[in-house]
C-alpha cells in the first residue's frame, strides 16, 4: 500500500511538473497578460517581482506546487475570478454530463457485449462489432453537430444547447450544482423535464462513445468466462441458460468490468471537452476551450490539473475496487 501511495504521489508530481513547464514556455508574457501592454516599465517590473518570476526555476516550481496543492491556480484573466472558484462553479456540470453518459453507456453496452459473446460469430455479434468500431472511429463533435441538426432543429424532439432554459433562470435555484438532483430536491418537475431534454442528447453521444469500449470489453470478458469449467458444471446441473449467462458468467465478468467502466468514465471527462463546445454545455471542457481562445493560461492549466487529478483518482479508485471485489487479489 505504501508503494502504491508513492506511485500516486510521483505521478501527481509529474503532472505538476509538466503543467509548470507548459506555463513557462508559453510565448505570452504572464506579466503583460495582467498589466496590459501599455503599463509603464516600473509597474511591469513590480508585478514581475510579485509573481516571483525573478527567482530560479526550482524555487518557482516550489512556489507553484505549494499554490496548487492549497487549491490556488492563480487568477483567470478572462473572468477575473480565482481559477479555483471558476472551476468549482463549472465542474458539477461536467460531472453530471459524464455520469449520465456512463450510465447510458453501461446500461446498453454491457447487454450488447453479453449478447455478442453468447452468439459469437453470428450476425448479432457482427452488428455489435460494427456499432463499436464506428463508435471508436467517429469524430464525436461532428456527430454532436449532426444530432443537434436532426433531433433539435429538424425534429424538435429535444432542447437545444445549454443546460436549462432561460425561463427557469430565476425560479430554479441550484444547491448541489447537479441540476437533475437539484430539480428532484426542489420538486420542480417542470424544470426537471427541461433539464432532461437538454442533457439527453449530449449524454447519449458520450454514452455511445463509452458503449463502444464497454461492449467490446464485456464481450471479451464474457468469452473468457464462458469457456471456464464452472459453466460446464452449471450446464450439467441443468441450470437454465439465462441463469448461467446472467447469474454466473456475468457475475464473474463484472469484477474486471468495474475497472473498465471507471476508466471509461475518466475517458468521458476528457471527451466532454469537445462535446461541451458543440452543445454550449457550461462545464469544465467549455471553460478550458474558452480560456484557450483568450490565451488565459492560468485557467487552461488549472483545468488540465483538475482533469488530470480526477484521472489519477479514478485509476486509484478502480484499482482499490478491483482488490475489494476480487478475493483472489487479496492474498497477493
Amino acid at each position: 500500500m505504501a508503494g502504491f501511495l508513492v506511485v500516486v504521489a510521483t505521478t501527481y508530481l509529474g503532472l505538476l511538473a509538466v503543467t509548470f513547464f507548459i506555463g513557462r514556455v508559453v510565448p505570452i508574457d504572464p506579466v503583460l497578460a495582467i498589466v496590459g501592454d501599455r503599463a509603464p516599465a516600473h509597474v511591469v517590473e513590480r508585478v514581475r517581482l510579485e509573481m516571483g518570476l525573478d527567482l530560479p526555476y526550482y524555487q518557482q516550481f516550489w512556489l507553484y506546487m505549494k499554490g496548487v496543492l492549497s487549491g490556488d491556480f492563480g487568477t483567470s484573466v478572462l473572468t477575473t475570478n480565482p481559477v479555483m472558484t471558476d472551476i468549482r462553479r463549472v465542474f458539477p456540470a461536467t460531472m453530471e454530463l459524464a455520469s449520465v453518459g456512463t450510465i447510458i453507456g453501461a446500461l446498453i453496452g454491457v447487454p450488447l457485449g453479453v449478447l455478442a459473446a453468447v452468439r459469437r460469430g453470428s450476425f448479432t455479434d457482427q452488428v455489435v462489432r460494427i456499432i463499436g468500431l464506428v463508435g471508436y472511429s467517429v469524430p464525436i463533435f461532428w456527430l454532436g453537430l449532426l444530432a443537434l441538426l436532426v433531433f433539435y432543429a429538424r425534429l424538435g424532439w429535444v432542447s437545444g444547447p445549454g443546460r436549462i432554459d432561460v425561463v427557469f433562470e430565476y425560479t430554479f435555484t441550484p444547491v448541489t450544482g447537479f441540476f437533475l438532483l437539484d430539480a428532484i430536491l426542489n420538486r420542480d418537475w417542470a424544470a426537471f423535464r427541461d433539464i432532461v431534454s437538454h442533457i439527453i442528447l449530449p449524454a447519449s453521444l458520450l454514452g455511445y462513445f463509452s458503449l463502444a469500449y464497454i461492449s467490446r470489453m464485456t464481450r471479451s470478458f464474457m468469452l473468457n468466462e464462458l469457456g471456464q469449467e464452472y459453466i460446464v458444471a452449471a450446464r450439467a446441473k441443468g441450470l437454465s441458460e439465462t441463469r448461467i449467462i446472467w447469474g454466473h458468467a456475468l457475475r464473474n465478468a463484472a469484477v474486471p468490468l468495474v475497472t473498465v467502466i471507471a476508466l471509461s468514465y475518466a475517458g468521458l471527462l476528457e471527451g466532454s471537452v469537445l462535446t461541451e463546445t458543440v452543445f454550449a454545455w457550461p462545464g469544465l471542457g467549455l471553460y478550458i476551450t474558452n480560456s484557450l481562445q483568450n490565451a488565459d493560461m492560468n485557467a487552461v492549466l488549472g483545468g488540465t490539473i483538475v482533469i488530470g487529478s480526477v484521472f489519477i483518482a479514478i485509476n486509484l479508485l478502480s484499482d482499490v475496487l478491483y482488490r475489494m471485489l476480487d478475493p483472489r487479489t487479496r492474498s497477493r
Partner: protein
C-alpha cells in the same frame, strides 16, 4: 522431393526452409493468408490505400482548386453536377478540399508515428534490457504520461506552443509514445534472458548493439499493430484540435477545421460540415479495421478478443 515438383505454395509453406529468405517469405505468406481471410481487414487496407492514392494524386484528381473559390457565383451551393459535394462559404469546391485534406491527414498520421514510435521503442527496450533503477525511472516517467488525459494535455501543449499543424503534431506525439514504451518493454522482458541473447553477449556485443540489433527488431511487429490501432485516435485528436482552431490554420483544408467552419451553416447548408466528418469517419474506420486485421494476422495469441 525435388525443387521442380514443388508448387510455389508448397515452397512457401515448407517445414524445412532452405534459406533465410525462404523462411521469411513463408512466414509473410502465412500472415498474408490469415490477413486476407478477414474481409473487414481487407476493406480497411483498401480504404488506407485509397487515402494514400488520393494524397499522392490530389492535383490530378481534384476537379477544382482547394483554395480559390468563386465568391460571386458559387457560395454555399448544394451538392450537384458541377460540385459533387457542394461548395463552402468561400465558394470553394468541398470535394477538392477533401481530396487535398487527405494529404494533411496522412502527414499528421505519418509524422506522429515517426516521432512517437521510435521514442517508445527506445525507452521501452532500454528500460527492459537495463533493468534496475534505469527501468524504474523510465517506467515512472512513462506512467506519468500514461496517466494524463491525452486530448487535454495536447490542448495545453498547443496552447503553449501556439496553434498550427506542426505544433499539433508535436503535441500529439508527446502524448502518444507511452503505450509503445510499455509494449516494447514487455517484449524485451520476454526475450532478455533467452539463449540467443546470452550467446550474443558471450560474443562480446555491447549492450547498445544488443538492444538495437537483436531486441528492437523483435518488438517491431507488435508495435506496428499498436501504432495502426492508434492511428484512428490520432486522426480524431488532430481533427478535434483542428475543430477547436488549434490545429491546421486557414486556408489549409484540414478536415476538422472544415467541420468548424461549416458549423455556422449547419441549419441550412448542412453538407458543408457533414462531408468532412464522413471523410474522417471512413479513414479512422479504415485504420481500426486494418489494425484489427493486422493484430489477428501477426499475433495469433491476441486473436478472438
Amino acid at each position: 522431393m525435388s525443387e521442380a515438383t514443388m508448387t510455389r505454395r508448397e515452397w512457401l509453406l515448407t517445414d524445412r526452409p532452405q534459406s533465410r529468405l525462404q523462411a521469411r517469405l513463408g512466414r509473410a505468406y502465412v500472415a498474408w493468408r490469415r490477413f486476407t481471410a478477414n474481409k473487414l481487414a481487407v476493406i480497411g487496407l483498401v480504404i488506407i490505400l485509397g487515402l494514400v492514392f488520393l494524397a499522392i494524386f490530389a492535383p490530378l484528381l481534384a476537379p477544382h482548386s482547394p483554395y480559390i473559390g468563386d465568391l460571386a457565383k458559387a457560395r454555399l451551393l448544394a451538392p450537384g453536377a458541377g460540385h459533387w459535394l457542394g461548395t463552402d462559404d468561400q465558394g470553394r469546391d468541398i470535394l477538392s478540399r477533401l481530396i487535398y485534406g487527405s494529404r494533411l491527414t496522412l502527414q499528421v498520421v505519418l509524422l506522429v508515428a515517426v516521432i512517437a514510435a521510435p521514442i517508445g521503442l527506445l525507452v521501452g527496450t532500454v528500460a527492459g534490457y537495463a533493468g534496475g533503477w534505469v527501468d524504474a525511472v523510465l517506467m515512472r516517467i512513462t506512467d506519468i504520461f500514461l496517466a494524463f488525459p491525452k486530448l487535454v494535455l495536447a490542448l495545453a501543449f498547443v496552447a503553449a506552443l501556439g496553434p498550427g499543424i506542426g505544433n499539433a503534431i508535436i503535441a500529439i506525439a508527446i502524448t502518444s509514445w507511452p503505450p509503445y514504451a510499455r509494449i516494447a518493454r514487455a517484449e524485451t522482458l520476454t526475450v532478455r534472458n533467452s539463449d540467443y541473447i546470452q550467446a550474443v553477449q558471450l560474443m562480446g556485443a555491447s549492450p547498445w548493439r544488443i538492444v538495437l540489433r537483436h531486441i528492437m527488431p523483435l518488438c517491431i511487429s507488435s508495435l506496428i499493430v499498436r501504432v495502426t490501432l492508434d492511428m484512428a485516435g490520432i486522426i480524431l485528436t488532430a481533427a478535434g484540435l483542428g475543430f477547436l482552431g488549434l490545429g491546421a490554420q486557414p486556408p489549409l483544408p484540414e478536415w476538422g477545421a472544415m467541420i468548424a467552419s461549416g458549423r455556422r451553416f449547419i441549419l441550412d447548408q448542412w453538407w458543408v460540415a457533414a462531408a468532412p466528418g464522413v471523410a474522417i469517419l471512413i479513414v479512422s474506420l479504415g485504420f481500426n479495421l486494418l489494425g484489427d486485421g493486422l493484430r489477428d494476422a501477426l499475433d495469433p495469441r491476441g486473436s478472438g478478443q
